[in-house]
Symmetry: C2
Subunit: 323 residues, 2 copies
Amino acid sequence: MTVVFGVDIGGTQTKLGAFSPDGTLLQKWSIPTDLSDNGTRILPHVADEIRRYLLENGIPLQGVLGIGLGIPGPVDDHGYVRTCVNLHWTDFRPALEMRRCLPDLPVSSPIAAGNDANVAALGEYARGGGAGSDSMMMVTLGTGVGGGVILGGKILGGAHGLAGEIGHIATNAHAARDCECGNRGCINECSSATGIVAYTGDLLRENPAPSALRAYPALTAEIVCNCAKEGDELALSALRTCMEPLGIGLAHFSHAIDPQVYVIGGGVSHAGEFLVALIRKAYEAHMHLTGGRGAEIRLATLGNDAGIIGACMLALTERGAGA
Amino acid sequence: MTVVFGVDIGGTQTKLGAFSPDGTLLQKWSIPTDLSDNGTRILPHVADEIRRYLLENGIPLQGVLGIGLGIPGPVDDHGYVRTCVNLHWTDFRPALEMRRCLPDLPVSSPIAAGNDANVAALGEYARGGGAGSDSMMMVTLGTGVGGGVILGGKILGGAHGLAGEIGHIATNAHAARDCECGNRGCINECSSATGIVAYTGDLLRENPAPSALRAYPALTAEIVCNCAKEGDELALSALRTCMEPLGIGLAHFSHAIDPQVYVIGGGVSHAGEFLVALIRKAYEAHMHLTGGRGAEIRLATLGNDAGIIGACMLALTERGAGA
């Protein structure tokens, strides 16, 4: 019996998935990420979990076909991590370290590491919202805005690990404040969950119109999306303001990479087709060269499993940088 | 003896190059592009030129290892041309038609067609300003602004032939007029030779300051660049205004594709390192996420030969869409 592991290492939780060689999820579970001792315990803990799973399922280490790792920070095309603030890693090769923790793993079984947003994009490409496309970009609308590009089945990392970083291009000419990166007008600052809450708060203060939003002592992006869906004009106006720069950014990306499909994921995407329609409208209004035509915009479908599924795919296809 | 042909078909002139199998240029020449009969004579004329060259050099048609074609319009990844306004082609497969004109060409010799800007980018990547890089984007500053992206030695065409179309992203918040595409703020409208002349004219009318430019009855981009180089404040100011949106656009592209190198070509690039320095300054000022670091920006080196060299490379590597 053989198995592939997909591991999604986060700053607080590490998700693990055991997959059959055809990519079917057999079991998934999560453990706290142990950040003590400068993050040196993280991968030994993952190795312990892998050994435990194998023991419980009567699979020898020789039955492990590969291990994929999603890392919450920049990973270059050679699997090298200069700095990963979230995990306290510096000058680190996660795949190499993982292999040191599992010395009996066959050398023919690849260990591959990639940036978590890129790895999740690979998951959505293989099994989720991007399935069936040739080229795809995933945009994650969470606390911040991240992105990952898949071309010809492979993650586009870029020469400096910057590829797909749509959150930090400045398309918002009416930004109310600077982005955390220091720039003004970044998509990250307005289209994220944080941005939606901030811009809606601004609008509620500036505009005396009645709104269901005023009943809430504290706003969340979910509340804003729900009120907008139910026809609240002020919520809808705030959401349009927040999604317009993202639509412009996708138009810019179509003139750069021209993917077949955009997949929208992350917590904010739970607002569903309603949100996608707002993004699509802004996008198509800026596709002048093609008369409004361009990429399909779809919802992500894998939710929190995108990371482990993508990590499994990374291992299965040795698309990442192995050790 | 064997030979490869690189053909760069333009709206008025068609350039031909005969190359040895290692890509060395043996001979180049050009012929007028015959647009009569809806452009149906263009490829038969190219075939005549190829036969003439072979006859004069005592090479049989069996010695032709491949033919690459650069087309002045969109070509999809399968070599299909929906419309090429410049050549009066509709619903056309240039590589297939070229093979019909040379029925005795061995089937093992590829004929490949690509968009001329992309093909020129491939030339600069293989033999010019982008040589030695893994990933490159070429920006052509001519009458308009075009672009071509090379990733892993291959042209990135995109799902809709839009990849690398940097000219039509809108990064100019202070645009004086609409772009020909109908959008406002396009790089094409301000960073092209046309744009430099228009914006300099605007500035000369608005600003009464003395300038060497006022001595010229008619401006050209070359005159503006030369005056700026010689320290004319007004010319320098106009050029900064025109290059700033391009620098921002390159920063956007670095957050999308993240190429290792940008290569600046086209007529305007004859202004040399002086111009590149202006573009670089604007670019680095918008690379906040990396503290100003990013891709190298270099000058193109192949001039008008980029097209035939790139077309030769396209054939040699069968990277285009063959017939």
